[in-house]
Amino acid sequence: MTAIKFGTEVLRNEKITDDICRLTLLAPAIAEKARPGQFVMVKASDDFGLPLLRRPFSIHQATTDGQLQILFKSIGRGTAFLAKRQPGDILSLVGPLGKGFTLPSQPTNICIVGGGMGTAPLFYLAKKLLRSNTEHKAIKVFLGAATASEIKVLQNDFAGLGGLTVLVATDDGSTGHHGLVTELLTDNLDQAGNWQVYSCGPHPMMKAVASYCFARNWSCQVSLETLMACGISACLGCAIRGSGQGVDSNKPYLHVCKDGPVFAAGDVAWE
């Protein structure tokens, strides 16, 4: 699989909330190769070339007609720049990069747990799961957010895919369960069943999901985020501590850009 670098045209900039944006880009060469869980490095720089380093974004959606979407919250200089992009603007992308989610080849029970912007790669995952040749027994999606406005659009998008159940939790109780998304799991997952769990979100949430799965011996894949300089395993800056099991068991550190961003939960040291 070969990643590429090139200029992509902004087709659409949707404001999900005041500070959450979804950019649709025309990037056929990346879209056709992209797998769920992979990411792109985006140059989010102003005329002065700042910020200097590209920013990693997971692929929110890739379509067969060459469109690619990223979903993000404006939290810094780079994302603020991206939030202002207009149709016709050109952005430089490198991708698709990294190891994505592994999809089950046998029919199984699937559980997807997303929190905040971590929901971004899970939409593409859900879509691919629904469109694969394997008909899964159940697909349950659990989404957590701070408040209703941050989750409404995504909740509808997931529900619109059909063939899955969506449950939400919000910190302020403005929609769905008032509390943590992980609190929804026990009541809504058949505990006697065997679930393939996929998760992406804030570190404490993924840690809770991972330990929930460890206790039940369920397979769990997590998509991690770190500060990253290159995204192509040249700088080795995106190290995380490994558990010493699974991939590269002899090395204390794993690299999110190359070994991940998707890891088996058991390969990560949850500290």
Partner: protein, 308 residues
């Protein structure tokens, strides 16, 4: 583009490059990481990630953070070790047809010389670049590169164990860069490269914690270019051996500025991480510049800074 003699440069120790653009150690992996983005064969030289005798795991995270116009890193010299480098990385590198320069690092003079000896017998290596910014474990952890006496000793012992050209990569974290440059020349270095990263700290004022787990990191990128240019100019005027300029080179113009300051060649570093095809773009740009100037060789501009 065929063989263009106008871009050839001599960087000392009998080593000639097809053009003056090299990639800096630690920013270009072991070469293969960039095969998708540029034609590795076009590069003047590839300096691989620093190699030690034994594999090193690197520092705890976070290892990198962006700072104003630059990047602070404390990767901790993570590398596969010389044996794995030879068996797993060299087969790819030697096929490219671009000079491979192996950057080495160690905790003691013995480690540097043992590495030099091992590399001497590995086929396909064009030169050794010595990273002397590492702490000297036997001397209380003070970096080799800050003491002219140690710089000379390291240079001599590496030279004694290899027939390959030896490039000494200077640390900028010194009061007088010409003192360590002269020490390297006195020790028999064929070439000097500079600058390595500048030591710095980034702080989160809310948590009151350093942004890097290692607390101190090395600053690179456009932020350090004026410092690097100054040091390259001073060193080029202080030694007779060729100088390789490094420090925040992002564009053709940046590369040419270093050559005017006295660098016979340059290394592109942090820019590789931002735009993996930067080095090839600069090679094109230098070619255009030579054509525009109508000169026979890019070497004509080396050390032509006018101070009158």
């Amino acid at each position: 583009m065929g063989i263009d003699n106008s871009l050839k440069v001599d960087i000392g120790g009998g080593l000639q490059l097809k053009n003056p653009i090299m990639t800096a150690s630690g920013t270009f992996g072991y070469g293969s990481e960039f095969a998708d983005y540029l034609d590795l064969q076009r590069l003047g030289g590839i300096v691989v990630k620093g190699i030690s005798l034994q594999p090193r795991p690197g520092n705890p995270p976070p290892r990198i953070v962006e700072t104003s116009c630059g990047m602070l890193n404390a990767i901790g010299l993570e590398n596969v070790g010389v044996e794995n480098f030879s068996s797993a990385k060299m087969p790819f590198l030697r096929k490219i047809g671009t000079p491979v320069i192996v950057n080495i690092l160690g905790d003691s003079i013995e480690e540097y010389s043992e590495l030099a000896e091992k590399l001497n017998v590995i086929e396909g290596i064009s030169a050794i670049e010595v990273n002397i910014s590492c702490p000297n474990v036997k001397k209380g952890g003070v970096a080799f590169g800050t003491d002219p006496v140690m710089v000379k000793k390291v240079t001599e012992s590496v030279k004694a164990r290899t027939s390959l050209p030896v490039i000494i990569k200077l640390s900028p974290n010194v009061t007088d860069i010409t003192a360590t440059a002269r020490a390297a020349e006195d020790g028999g270095a064929d070439t000097i490269s500079l600058i390595n990263t500048l030591m710095g700290i980034a702080i989160d004022h809310r948590t009151r914690r350093p942004k890097l787990a290692n607390i101190i990191g090395g600053l690179s990128g456009p932020a350090i270019k004026p410092v690097a240019l100054r040091m390259v100019w001073q060193v080029a005027n202080a030694v007779k051996i060729p100088v390789i300029g490094i420090g925040g080179i992002m564009s053709t113009e940046d590369a040419l500025e270093f050559m005017v300051a006295g660098a016979s060649a340059v290394q592109v570093g942090t820019a590789n991480l931002v735009d993996p095809d930067t080095a090839e773009r600069i090679i094109d740009g230098i070619g255009d510049f030579v054509e525009e100037l109508g000169c026979q060789s890019i070497q004509e501009i080396v050390g032509t800074l006018r101070t009158d």
